[in-house]
Amino acid sequence: MALYDMSREDITETLPLTEPVLLILLSLAGQPQHGYAILKDVERMSSGRVVLSTGTLYGALRRLLDVDWIERFEEDETPRGRQAYRLTPQGRRNLQLEIDRMKHLTRLATLRVATKES
């Protein structure tokens, strides 16, 4: 069955991502963003459920920079203290893997629940 086709090789040891990290990556998926814009975007995407502090955000950004999932994005005339970040190709790939994993899980859960109900 297609639902069981996802091989273990496709699932990195870093998955599943925590919700804050997933939301930070989703925030950067569309366009480069600086710190405050990421904070607000995460809050908006989660309907106010996930409110990151600055310390938490930069802890996550530091770790994502370390593993090359994101990179600093140099803008023209960037004011000091407003550094933007964007996804790297590797970060985008891993984000897509996480989305695929979640899709797989959702489809499987839907199927199992439907089978049980019928």
Binding site: E9, H34, Y36, T54, G55, T56, Y58, V67, Q90, R93
Partner: protein, 172 residues
């Protein structure tokens, strides 16, 4: 408010501050400005949230090398991958070990104070003088073993082995 944040940023390692302190201060200033018109209670809540975030973030950065090393050396449930999460059974084991140690000391004191002298082996002598060299030797051996273990982990980290988990089989 910003003064508090600036002071708390000093808790971070110097290298981290060099990379991120200006950006973080900029974001914290934006957070303050955007919430300037809110009620005092809301502003205090934000101050507490940001302060707690800075303190926990600084602790995490300070102990990040230790946490990562523990994660690499983790066995089964004794993992510390997500920070300092001991299994609850650790407290029970530690209490049992402490109780055993106290009982052993009390028993030793009772034996030492006993007037009974065994004719075959003679009176019991204090063991402090004979115990000290083995303790030093014991500590030295484990210190060396610990250093060798640390060197191996450090060499593995330097070789980039710890990054293999992030590669996911795809070229960069």
């Amino acid at each position: 408010m910003l003064t508090v944040y600036r002071q708390l940023l000093h808790l971070y390692p110097a290298e981290y501050r060099e990379d991120f302190a200006d950006e973080m201060m900029s974001v914290l200033a934006e957070v303050r400005d955007q919430n300037a018109n809110r009620k005092i209670i809301a502003r205090i809540r934000i101050l507490l949230r940001e302060s707690a975030g800075l303190v926990t973030g600084a602790l995490r950065e300070r102990f990040s090398a230790f946490i990562e090393m523990q994660a690499e050396l983790s066995i089964g449930r004794f993992t510390m991958r997500n920070g300092f999460r001991f299994p609850k059974s650790t407290i029970i084991f530690m209490a049992l070990i402490l109780a055993g140690l106290v009982m052993a000391i009390q028993r030793g004191e009772q034996i030492a104070a006993s007037p009974h002298v065994n004719q075959q082996i003679g009176p019991i002598q204090a063991v402090h003088s004979t115990l000290l060299p083995p303790i030093v030797l014991f500590l030295a051996v484990f210190y060396v073993l610990g250093f060798v273990g640390w060197a191996i982990v450090f060499a593995l980290r330097r070789s980039g082995v710890h990054r293999l988990a992030d590669v996911s089989g795809q070229p960069k």
